[in-house]
Symmetry: C2
Subunit: 318 residues, 2 copies
Amino acid sequence: MSRPAAKTEPRQDASFPARLNAAAAETERLLERLMSDALVDGEIARPARLMESMRYSSLGGGKRLRPFLTVETAALFGVPRERALMAGAAVECIHCYSLVHDDLPAMDNDDLRRGRPTAHKAFDEATAILAGDGLLTFAFDILGRPETHPDAAVRIALVTGLARSAGLGGMVGGQLLDLAAEGRFGRNEAPQGEQGVLTMQAMKTGALLHFSCMAGAILGGAQPDKRDAVSRYGKILGQAFQIADDLLDVEGDAATLGKAAGKDAAHGKATLVDLLGIPGAHARLSALVADAEAALAPFGADAATLTDAARFVAERRA
Amino acid sequence: MSRPAAKTEPRQDASFPARLNAAAAETERLLERLMSDALVDGEIARPARLMESMRYSSLGGGKRLRPFLTVETAALFGVPRERALMAGAAVECIHCYSLVHDDLPAMDNDDLRRGRPTAHKAFDEATAILAGDGLLTFAFDILGRPETHPDAAVRIALVTGLARSAGLGGMVGGQLLDLAAEGRFGRNEAPQGEQGVLTMQAMKTGALLHFSCMAGAILGGAQPDKRDAVSRYGKILGQAFQIADDLLDVEGDAATLGKAAGKDAAHGKATLVDLLGIPGAHARLSALVADAEAALAPFGADAATLTDAARFVAERRA
């Protein structure tokens, strides 16, 4: 079942879509290989149904924005591409697990994801919960491997960064605040005002996008000034992503999105688009793209693709 | 909120219950402190409801058998107790998350756990799913910290071992096979015969108990022969634990167990007790206790507490 690692190495001058698609294809092949070879204590064990549901939930779709950010940030520091792809694959496992759990009936109760039935519809709720748990756990399995980086201290820095961005104070905490914003747990627990919404979004989607960028800097042993520049860029990118997402929820339609639209309003959830208005949200997005470009200034022309990535995130239609 | 680390250090000649209770109390205090201090990227972020549900699901109960095994195995190799407690706390987070998710309506649908309402009853389903995800992620946060071990290579070995014992090829995979054993996914996916049941149990509960012991050997930098001895002991202990569990399901009652009894028969699930009969299962348990003692022979008198632990696991009434 094992295949050789992907060899595709896009030329530095390849167009943005070509680079994005190349990283997506390589991530897909890597995830497929890693899951096919999943080991336990030296033996191979893969209960068929769990394997199938984990594959369904992580392969065959998605822009793979997070692994792309890791790959492109890592490239700034001369990190071998196959190492960046390993770290990116780990981040993508976390992202995919979060979609599976967020779609569950007890959470957002979505039937559609990337134009296909959600995992609990394609399988069943118990299998979907376990597929999510399996993907979450597998992310740390991937980061633990020497192929990610030969230096254990670097791998541990990735483990800590991923755990913090994905956990209590990051994505998981943000998803709880997101449910709270719908009024589920009563008024007192709902995030209040622009700062409350910004914090909720920074945790729910921002933290993992930020870490996707930081992973490249960690792999590359970046000096503090460069590391701080990547960190600023990652935070700005996360904010832009979420405003674009909120705008899509208002302006998009299910056919283009591959998932339900208009959900925020239906759930009575405050977003930045409510607080800023649609034109105000577009203006904020443009400002964030400019901020992202400014944050990348220390890298000069090398960061052109990451600047494009900020623009892509801000202007995406799906 | 921060408290100094627990100082209790039971004397080597303390009785087995005293040692078990001391490790449980220290684990409880450590988990409480770690969660109170939960950090994200240098800042503290703890959504109140998520924090409360994670605390509810991990504090205030349980024998803490897994951290105890880590502490006692680590003691064989002279590992400082506070390091073993860190690794044990990580394992306990995994154990507690698995209970929360296994109790969910879509899984085993249990209302009672350790004599209290299960997390989704005390809170709600969405919060319970997120509390489980948060605890799972937090386990790796804990293992990443220098307090667990100053050497990053040792911490990474713990991360890999925990991820493999908890994931696809371990606990998560075993839980899927357990549901399959109830016939949920049709006849073809149910584990078949004694070997099928043994594999399912080795994955579902055995893998994490095994790792609880291995964590001590990893922290202690055990030589291969001693490491193998601990590994053999851990596997035997896992088998004994599960047979005792199956016997309790047949012979126990809910009041003593703090959870529902008779569930296996109600779900039509084959267990080793069905395959061996009740007297056969008791005989197998006695043999496993003898095997556990034999596995520990290389450690001589130092391993007396671990021998007691095997007996305790085999003979427990709750």
